[in-house]
Amino acid sequence: MVGHTDADFVSVVIPVNNPSVDVGRLVQGYSEPLRSAGYPFELIFVLDGVHGRIVEDLAELSSEHPVKTVRLQGDGLGESIALSAGVARARGAFILNVPQYLQVEPDDLVKIVQALESGADFVATWRHPRVDPWLNRVQSTVFNWVLRAVMGIRFHDLNSGVRGMRRQVLEEVSVYGEMFRFLPVLALRQGFNVVEVKVRHREEQGTLPFYGIGVYVRRVLDILAISFLTRFTQKPLRFFGILGIIAILIGIAVSLNPLYERVIQDVSIADRPIFVLGVILVAFGVQLIGFGLVGEIIIFTQASQMRDYRVDEVVQVEGPQPSDGAVADAVDAALGRAEPREDSPALRVRELLPGEDARWDAFVHGHEHGSFFHLSGWRRAVEETFHHEAHYLVCEQGRAWRGVLPVFHIRSPFLGKQMISVPYGVYGGVLAGDEDVQQALIDAACQQGRRLAAGYLELRHLAPRPGDRVRFDLYVTFRKELPATVDEVLPSIPKKARAEVRRARDRFSMTFEELDDVSVFFELFSEEKRRLGTPSLPQSWFENLREEFGKAVVLHVVRDADRRPMCAVMSFLYKDAVYAYYSGSSNEARGKGVADFVYCKIMEWAIERGFRVFDFGRSRRDTGAAKFKQNMGFEPEPLHYDFTLLRADAKLPEFHPSNPKLQGPRRMWSKLPKGVANRVGARLSRYLP
């Protein structure tokens, strides 16, 4: 029935319920301004229980003017239904609803259409200045004021019979009874764009001189109904509950005094009707809450049929979902693997934002030098345990990532202020595609470091990076390709160490297994640290690592024949490597070959699970630990720890266990009772990254 709707076609809907209306004048008055403004239009007269001469008049007019007639079957169905029926026959995108008499200057209709054209969904009108009888004006003012007070909506003249709207509004806002009057309010509640336009009021003979008071009372009740429905449909108990609680509280307050006097002072309350009032209020309050609960049950059981939201539009790319190839492309672009374009934008370094952790980890994963310690989980574990300030830097080119640098700002009474990439880890530093990116990241970190008054920037590189920086040559690391099969592990170990492994296995019947309990590991770890005279890391650190990395952190334990734990190792699994990172052994384990045994077993364990590289971790040159690792058949590999001094007076750190000045304190430390050493050590380790 609804034909093609033109963009600016205007349908004027005029409900008529008065048979003596002069339709000729109406047609003349309403069509003149629209025609001269150049809008295509139609006039739709909806005859609501009107018969007789007017029908012929309209038929006659329709030959010259674009006039349509809709006759409602029935008698006095009301303006809401008339409006709906008229709109159903209308073909315009813009609907003007006007009364059956010329209430406003017809010229102002053009203003309404213009407002609709410029984006409004609904146009309310404000007749100003009014030329009504004074009583109508007073009633209208009071009514609009009540509306504003109850609903908090500012309309000056809701009674105006002239309104403009887009067709869409009436399709979504259903009106019934007298509700058409509140169309602007309802439209606004549905999120439509409602504007108010001033129109000139015009004295018209067709109107009644006064409205009765009852008309306005009905309208105020309508407002309350609308207000309730829109606000509390979904939460009846909020409405009834608050009323009920207020009633109960007032009731209790009112009846307390008489009750008190009766019980304590024995004053009769025979003449205290307020007590009954109190009881009534309490009971009433309980009943209101009951109403609210019934309401909630009704809503809950009907919830499947309710939808309390209005979808404006759904935007999506039409067509099938992309194949996985497209996903891979998107991933590549995000990772910076895609080739940069010719007109590539400048490099930009910024800090990592929350929610980008997954992308960070993927970048680390994709980079050849990316290590376990570069992962974002390391940051969270460090922050959680030691509360150091992290600055994870990302170098971007456009939207693509070109490099990353994880760095922490550490304040330590022993080492001063410093920037470290990364603390507690043995490998860190820049991950970048080329030297420009690397330099941009290091510059940004230095700048950050100077701002924080740090002495130097320490980059714990495993592999050498281009550029000229101070190298710190204290540490070496031990890494080796694992043999292809489990059986080749033992033969690959030098003879002396192999004998130790066998001794532990055969003579002391040591057993090797995976461990779940961090506290067993920590016990051994802290015992060893104390023996060596260095503060132990806190247990929470190991727990946080486990929580953060889950299955990528494994614990192994060696037990003796009595199943007492002798030695435990915490290893990290990343890419194709196993990092045997933290270890601890009990005092009793010495001289039983336990250490050789456990690492041999971990290597076998790693091969079974398909790992290819065994990382024994760093040691200071020429220490016992380094010799042990060499005895196990590993060759020392130099580490490329780079330093950039950030202040003129800054110098390289001297606070490490090889420093002869620290021999005394270290011996003292190992004499401390275990509880004290662990507790103090946990605090101290914060400053020894």
Binding site: V279, A283, V286, I289, E296, D312, Q316, Q321, V327, P354
Partner: protein, 336 residues
Amino acid sequence: MTRFHAPRHSRTQTAATAPRVSVVVPLFNEVQNLLRLHESLSYALGSAAARLGSYEILFVDDGSDDGTRDLLRRLAADDPHVRAVLFRKNCGQTAAMSAGFEMAQGEIVVSMDGDLQNDPSDIPRLVERLEDGFDIVCGWRRHRQDSFATRLLPSMIANQLIRWATGVPIHDTGCSLKAYRAWVVRNLHLYSDMHRFIAALGAGLGARITELPVRHHPRIYGQSKYGLGRIFRVVIDLVVIKMLIQFAAHPIRWFGMLAAPLFLIFVALLGVGFLKFEEGRLGLLWNYNNFYVAGAAVAALFGFNVFLLGFLAELQLKASRFFRRRIAITATEAAR
């Protein structure tokens, strides 16, 4: 056999091309966070595609006025994984979530906040946990990054109350990051502020629920959209949920409890009005006190009223066939 809600918006896609995981993100004035969020979400989901399967992201804009909508239109036009649902006006977070749930096509649905406080890289973990045999996996912000007085404390109280009232042992009901099987969200029918009680409502459906610690980041951009004022509302909602969960099958019990104090008042007033206590003996007071008796009568009348409201509630439940439908759903899913 009762027919359940088929997804209403499945017109463009057939089962073969439908994504496996749908992520629903309600947004309200998040223009500063949106691009980052989209990027990290695409990232987390794209790189885990081998395990998770295909995905879609449903951004539901809850009537933002800060440019979020324009940005969303662009995102949705560029990225075939993204669908943007734009509300015409602000309808609240529950409505946004419920719209997203309704349009979600995946067999697994994940909901999360749009303010970057949740971490998209937790999604694969949640989904894996779901695949261990659960129907709802709730995120648990173990280390929350919010201010104590305005966010943490109210939330702790609310969580404790919710746990106590609903009996569902979830630590953090306020965390939006959750994963569900599709049948759960299709039958949840959220309204009002019910998103806080998803776990409890899900338990009512017979869903198997568990939780998983997730990361939580401090807010960097934009304003938090909660305040202290919601405590009262949460308490009221809690009463409702308690009733709906425990008594929905027999509302008359709940109304009986509500009426009980009124009957107590009735009995007490009757006693005080008619009995006297003199010289250690209980006697009947013949010139009884009008006001006590009037009060007693009022209490009795209202008490009966409240009690009888329970019948109305029973009637409504019967008429709506609510439990028949629900039992059918649970039975179907349990048999699967």
